[in-house]
């Protein structure tokens, strides 16, 4: 039975890596009590809190954290009419935090995620593992059967071409969850008691050309490499769909990473996910998504980005164009979404004027 860690103090690293290069983005409507548990691992870092819901409510941030906090009024003020692309009453609003950050790396975590324990009982510093994942190369062109070859105690297996062993830069590190797994509503309804107790000691690169469901609960990425692709879509209030924000960002991100020759890793680190959301509420949010994704997935699988899309922004604008062309027939929502995607890029470029269109990748 998975349990969260309690003694995290001893596990804090002596020198927090990337302390001045990484922001932690947390969406919240409740409170930030969970930060107490993360304190030894998070305190050295700057936090960006994106407050969803009623802006007149005050979110108390535990003492000792360096943070900036944005509520809906702030988002409206900063973005003006472009604020329409940021979701309201949905944790998708977190992507506003990515946009205003000035750092190279982002780690985002939900406020019901706690420190997990590894099988030896040791508290897992999820941030440290994400940093390791991001700072070591990915290997999307050929699958390594011993998983991440850059981890201690592992390497490339026999038959792995030497010319591919340098790998490519890692743009995304997707972590996993012990205890409450990230299931959709139908699965939650069928298996309300299922808990993820399996600690899989692996990090692996998701191969090029393969899509995956990206969960935003425990996620880190290189903002300079892929930031503009991490738009979490139009969800929540006034929208026909919810709980597909991170999915949407993940499909866009993966297609663009594949095009630009960037890597996406998944696996460690684990966090302890404590709160199971109400499956009936979830079902109403996801309902349309469950049908729509049958069209959305083939769309992303077949998307080809032209060679002259050499930056993330160009790729994203092109994707928005294709969404409008090909997915509008599924539902007018996609028309709105395509427009919001363009608005997002415009807002991103406004808030991040210099150097933000540089990428290490090569258009394929």
């Amino acid at each position: 039975m998975a349990e969260p860690a309690t003694a995290t103090q001893a596990a804090a690293p002596a020198v927090p890596q990337l302390k001045d290069e990484l922001d932690i983005v947390i969406p919240t409507i409740r409170n930030l009590d969970f930060l107490e548990m993360w304190r030894p691992f998070f305190q050295p870092y700057h936090l960006i809190i994106v407050q969803d819901g009623d802006p007149s409510k005050t979110i108390k941030v535990p003492d000792g954290f360096d943070y900036e906090l944005y509520n809906r009024n702030d988002i409206n003020r900063i973005l003006g009419p472009k604020a329409s692309c940021i979701s309201f009453k949905d944790s998708a609003c977190r992507c506003f935090g990515y946009m205003v950050s000035k750092k190279k790396y982002i780690f985002t975590i939900d406020d019901d995620c706690f420190v997990a324990k590894d099988p030896s009982g040791k508290a897992i510093n999820a941030l440290e593992q994400h940093i390791k994942n991001l700072l070591s190369p990915s290997t999307p062109f050929f699958f390594n059967t011993l998983y991440d070859p850059f981890r201690d105690g592992a390497d490339f297996v026999r038959g792995y071409p030497f010319s591919l062993r340098e790998g490519v830069p890692t743009a995304v590190s997707h972590g996993l969850w012990l205890n409450i797994p990230d299931y959709d509503a139908p699965t939650q309804l069928v298996k309300p008691l299922e808990r993820n107790t399996r600690f899989v000691d692996a990090v692996l690169t998701i191969p090029k050309g393969t899509l995956f469901p990206m969960c935003g609960m425990n996620l880190a990425f290189d903002r300079e490499l892929i930031g503009p692709a991490m738009y979490f879509g139009l969800m929540g209030d006034g929208q026909p769909i919810g709980r597909y924000d991170d999915m949407w960002a993940g499909w866009c991100t993966k297609v663009i990473c594949d095009h630009l020759g960037l890597g996406v890793k998944t696996g460690l680190p684990y966090i302890y996910h404590s709160k199971a959301s109400n499956p009936f509420v979830n079902l109403r949010k996801e309902y349309k998504g469950i049908f729509w994704q049958e069209e959305i997935i083939p769309f992303f699988q077949q998307t080809v980005l032209p060679k002259d899309c050499t930056t993330v922004q160009k790729c994203y604008i092109e994707l928005a164009k294709q969404v409008k062309e090909k997915l509008s027939k599924v539902d007018p929502y996609f028309d709105k979404l395509a427009e919001a995607m363009v608005t997002w890029i415009e807002a991103w470029d406004e808030l991040n004027p210099t150097g933000s269109s540089v990428t290490n990748g090569k258009a394929k």
Partner: protein, 352 residues
């Protein structure tokens, strides 16, 4: 073990490159003893095989191999390739094959891993090659498909091949092992996952299992290094065969899984000594991988034999001129399909 699988549907094929199999068989006895075993002796091995009593097995040695395929053909079964003879003569649905220097491993809880049971579970539950599930095998106890996984893809496809892993001496190439002589794999990763469609990987022959009826002909002896030797560091035959299998599976809509079960692979040989022999293989992979990544099989190839024949064709056309080893491999693949048709049992059924 799945209740629907009968023990008599399984053959365990062991290629014997060492003569004294006593400790190997004794260690595997608790797991192997209920099954039929096919032991194929490397035709180049001079000493008599030593096999303990109490197993239900058939042993094939050079004279037997000569008898079935003829003395000129029997050379293709030299060294590690001897196991392919076992695949050829088997009449069972499932084959599990482990190198003779591998022993049962223990999992993280110290419990002996039943590699056969795990391989069979892998082969008899669906694979999911079209979309990656972040919680790995969704059909395993305590796991499922995650949010965002399309429902239409949740029934999966038939799994044709199960690739296991190795604790202790991992399947590294000679340069890697020579550089890190002390490195031993102690990380037990508690997962099975489907290798996505169109993603290629080095499929090691050390610990595999497959559905012979569906994919049998694609596991084949064809690429033989000039200096091929009696250590895995000195071969690429399984890697080549594995590429053919993966390309065929992707084309036929079949799945390939990797991960558990683990076996414990004993230290054997000297990586530095093998360096010179394997270097040829290392260089060849630079051609082999881009080649297989570019192979597209025609729609008319609807059986595994068709796929193998097509791949052989393309190998001959595109790689044959680059190195005679490829021309020979292509011919060997064509010969294998014919051999499979004449000696092997029922031809494979079209992919799922």
């Amino acid at each position: 073990m799945s209740l629907s699988i009968k023990d008599h549907e399984i053959d365990i094929v062991i290629g014997a490159l060492r003569s004294d199999l006593t400790s190997f068989m004794s260690e595997w006895r608790p797991i192997f003893s209920r099954f039929h075993l096919i032991i194929v002796k490397d035709p180049d091995l001079k000493e008599e095989l030593k096999i303990p009593e109490g197993f239900n097995l058939d042993v094939y040695k050079k004279p037997d191999i000569d008898c079935v395929v003829g003395t000129s053909t029997s050379t293709i079964f030299s060294g590690y390739s001897c196991r392919y003879f076992g695949y050829l003569v088997s009449r069972k649905k499932y084959i599990i094959s482990v190198d003779d220097d591998c022993y049962p491993a223990k999992d993280n809880k110290g419990i002996l891993v039943d590699a056969v049971a795990q391989h069979i579970t892998n082969l008899t539950t669906p694979a999911t090659p079209f979309f990656f599930n972040t919680l790995y095998d969704p059909f395993t106890e305590g796991a499922d498909f995650v949010r965002g996984y399309p429902f239409s893809l949740r029934s999966g496809v038939q799994c044709a091949l199960s690739c296991g892993l190795w604790l202790n001496l991992a399947d590294y190439d000679a340069p890697t092992q020579a550089l890190k002589p002390e490195e031993r794999n102690s990380r037990y990763v508690d997962a099975v996952l489907t290798v996505p469609a169109r993603s290629l990987m080095p499929i090691s022959g050390i610990n595999i299992a497959f559905n012979r009826e569906v994919i049998g002909p694609a596991l084949l002896p064809s690429l033989r290094l000039g200096g091929e030797g009696k250590f895995r560091w000195e071969t690429m035959e399984d890697i080549w065969s594995g590429m053919c299998v993966k390309v065929a599976c992707d084309h036929l809509g079949l799945g390939v899984k990797t991960g558990m079960p683990y076996v414990w692979r004993n230290d054997r040989g000297d990586a530095i000594a093998s360096l010179r022999k394997e270097w040829e293989g290392v260089k060849l992979m630079e051609e082999v991988v881009p080649f297989f990544q570019s192979v597209r099989l025609p729609r008319e190839a609807t059986t595994t034999e068709d796929c193998v024949a097509e791949v052989a064709n393309v190998v001959k056309e595109q790689l044959g001129s680059k190195d005679p080893i490829f021309a020979r491999a292509a011919k060997a693949m064509v010969d294998w399909v014919m051999l499979w048709k004449s000696v092997g049992s029922s031809t494979s059924s079209p992919g799922a």
